[in-house]
């Protein structure tokens, strides 16, 4: 009842502001119902979880990769792995349509799509000794499925890294305070590495706490840097300089030993991430803020300044990870299945952790929507749309019906210690302002607004950079595996020429997308975020094709709608969005139309090439979707019609010793 009333309030209230707690209550109720009833249905009817069956963690227990682990511990481990920057940035960008479309998709998408995908893939991997998604795609669908899954993972990693790097660049450009703080995390991580390896071996929590204290000191130090002109000069960087530094950093992080930089930074990032998400939840609960963003804005028609395109399909592409994320299927078929102690626990870990992730996305929506809409659009609109001067931008945005003045924006920028907050696209600065607003109204008042803002920027940039350096390394390993089939020495992960070559290849790939975004007069996010959304949903389609194929082979075809329904939704969204991104006649949406417009106006040849490249990448992704769908459907048809013998490639049943518990 509480959930129904909350959703009705969210959906039907027009013309007056609502309290953020309506969203929180609606989400908590929907998630509770989804977990209690829908996940039970999937566990009992679709997957037929077997509490008697031993998991690979029990059978293959080696105290290293395979370890039977308490379900709450695995839940925490899994949540820490799936919670990335996507559920924070996506909902902030999608807030340009108002809070309603994003919220509804987060609730429905998570309960019926994302959670189902994570849960099903986790269980299927558990029943196959912890096999990865690409291995399951190859074994269960066929070689084309396996190849496409592999190609999809590489594509998504490259696009994800490019777009993540762009978000960091946009958050740090012309911001000496933010740049100094983030720069300091590198020596702090190195110090943590030495502490861990030399001074107190293995005391990760101690070193993370030490690192956190040093990062907080760096935030305070950043204030002094930004207020000291001679120092601020060194840390006030343009977008292109930042892009080059981040590209160099990505290469170094991929080629250096793990213990030196990657591992300590990862621990520091996880520490900050979990702490900040907890703090944000407490802040929203304590403040119960009012949301100033309307339920729906005029930009549902596709004319939005943050990114172009109608609410369907672009809200669904943009939200990505908080509702359904193909990337999660890599985690669900990675470390997690090797820790699951009993099959029945996959429900809580797979379904439950995704609900928690979706709740993080709801909090991000709230953080964006507590801002005055005029301020939200001033921060998120690129100069190419609203003009380069503050007065121009304020006039254009006010003309849309979202009043804001240059003076208001200047005083807001001063209160957070920035020179300007206009044209800070990418979602991170808007989220940071919203988060600082919530925190400063809970603790410390306006006096701490700047500290909270830079804490939020540090938090986002830190864990985006962690995604960046870890992702570059994962991409490097995948490339080494692939090239090893061509020339054996390239597959040796410790051979330095191979490390340098493959690191350079991966960094060049995402670096190109980053460079493209930095040079894009529309801010880059307009082109790259939808591309990332499409790539991510493509991986979701691969995961759901694998899941459906196996469910049919398990003779549970009557319940296959549980995965076919979200699969159909993803296919519809991905195909429609891709069609618009490639062929739409509006140059702000269609890559080819934009290339034509630039060509007619005698525009920059590089920008025209970039548009065509984006169109090619999008088309390539969609062709892969079509191929894997065709191969999967042909498997389903031949299996259901009895033309082929459905063979489930599960590990044989072994009775668990935990059964009597």
């Amino acid at each position: 009842m509480a959930g129904a009333v909350s959703i009705a309030t969210i959906a039907l209230r027009r013309g007056e502001e609502i309290n953020a707690m309506w969203l929180v209550v609606a989400a908590v109720c929907c998630y509770a119902l989804g977990y209690r009833f829908y996940s039970s249905f999937i566990a009992a009817k679709v997957l037929v979880l077997d509490s008697e069956r031993a998991t690979p963690a029990e059978r293959l227990d080696n105290g290293r990769d395979f370890v039977p682990t308490n379900k709450w511990v695995v839940f925490g481990h899994h949540f820490a792995a799936i919670a990335g920057p996507g559920p924070l940035v996506g909902p902030v960008l999608a807030a340009q349509f108002g809070y309603l479309p994003g919220t509804l998709w987060l609730l429905a998408g998570a309960v019926f799509g994302g959670c189902v995908q994570d849960f099903v893939i986790l269980l299927l991997s558990v029943r196959r000794d912890g096999k990865s998604l690409t291995e399951m795609a190859r074994d269960e669908i066929g070689p084309v499925g396996g190849f496409i899954a592999y190609a999809a993972v590489i594509s998504i990693i490259v696009i994800l890294l490019g777009v993540c790097a762009l978000v960091v660049v946009n958050a740090l450009k012309s911001s000496p305070w933010g740049t100094f703080t983030i720069a300091m995390t590198i020596p702090i991580a190195l110090l943590m590495g030495v502490y861990l390896r030399r001074l107190r071996p293995g005391r990760v929590l101690e070193s993370s706490l030490l690192g956190f204290i040093l990062v907080v000191l760096a935030i305070w130090g950043g204030k002094w840097i930004s207020q000291t002109p001679s120092m601020a000069h060194w840390f006030t960087l343009t977008a292109t300089s930042l892009a080059l530094i981040i590209i160099g950093y990505g290469f170094a992080a991929s080629a250096l030993p793990v213990w030196l930089l990657l591992a300590p930074r990862d621990y520091l990032s996880t520490f900050v991430k979990l702490g900040t998400i907890g703090l944000l939840a407490l802040g929203i609960g304590a403040l119960r803020p009012t949301m100033h963003m309307p339920a729906l804005t005029r930009f549902v028609d596709g004319t939005g300044p943050v990114f172009a395109g109608r609410v369907f399909p672009f809200a669904f592409i943009t939200i990505a990870c908080g509702a359904i994320s193909g990337f999660h299927s890599l985690i669900s078929s990675g470390t997690t299945p090797k820790l699951i102690r009993r099959e029945t626990e996959t429900r809580m870990v797979g379904y439950g952790a995704m609900l928690a992730e979706s709740m993080v996305a709801i909090m991000a929506t709230i953080a964006a929507c507590v801002l005055q809409p005029g301020i939200y659009f001033a921060i998120n609109s690129p100069a190419g749309i609203v003009g380069k001067t503050a007065e121009n931008a304020a006039a254009v945005i006010s003309g849309w019906g979202f009043p804001v003045s240059a003076v208001d924006m200047h005083s807001l920028a001063q209160s957070v210690g920035e020179q300007s907050l206009f044209n800070r696209t990418g979602g991170a600065p808007a989220f940071a302002v919203g988060m600082a607003h919530i925190f400063s109204n809970s603790i410390g008042g306006q006096a701490l607004m700047a500290i909270w803002y830079h804490f939020a920027i540090m938090f986002e940039a830190l864990f985006i950079l962690t995604v960046l350096d870890a992702g570059t390394r994962v991409g490097r390993f995948m490339l080494q595996d692939a090239l090893g089939h061509v020339w054996k020495p390239m597959g040796r992960t410790s051979w330095y020429p191979s490390i340098l070559f493959t690191s350079a290849m991966i960094v060049a790939a995402w670096g190109y997308f980053l460079w493209q975004g930095v040079k894009d007069p529309l801010g880059g996010i307009n082109s790259l975020w939808p591309l990332f959304g499409i790539a991510n949903q493509l991986l979701g389609i691969v995961a759901l094709c694998v899941a459906t194929t196996i469910i049919i082979k398990m003779q549970r075809a009557r319940y296959a709608a549980a995965t076919i329904a979200p699969l159909a939704a993803l296919v519809l969204v991905t195909f429609t969005a891709s069609w618009h991104k490639v062929f739409d006649a509006n140059p702000r949406i269609g890559f080819l139309a934009h290339a034509r417009q630039l060509g007619t106006a005698g525009g920059n040849a590089r920008l025209i090439f970039n548009d065509r490249l984006d169109a090619l990448v999008t088309s390539g992704l969609i062709i892969m979707v079509a191929l894997i769908l065709v191969e999967s459907v042909s498997r389903w048809v031949s299996g259901l019609s009895g033309r082929t013998q459905a063979e489930v490639r599960e590990t044989p049943f072994v009775r668990t010793r935990f059964a009597e518990e």
């Binding site: 709450w72 511990v73 481990h77 995604v467 994962v474």
Partner: protein
């Protein structure tokens, strides 16, 4: 030494009417979760498996062993 909360028969989630014993169990579970997330539990398992003591050398060996596994672990979007 294998942490009981992490491996094997770990404690169940305490009820809302938890007494001091249940609170202690909850804290133990939280610590176990944090130790697992931050790989401290993995290092403890390594020490137990290799029958060795906490030292620079053993931690370096642990890092070496885990380097490929942790570096291949994807970070999510």
């Amino acid at each position: 030494m294998r942490v009981e909360a992490v491996c094997g028969r770990g404690p169940h989630l305490p009820s809302l009417r938890a007494g001091p014993r249940h609170t202690f169990e909850a804290v133990k579970l939280l610590v176990a979760t944090v130790r697992e997330i931050f790989d401290e539990a993995a290092y403890s398992r390594f020490l137990m498996r290799e029958r060795t003591e906490r030292s620079r050398e053993s931690y370096a060996e642990f890092l070496q062993e885990n380097a490929n596994v942790t570096a291949r672990r994807p970070r999510c979007c």
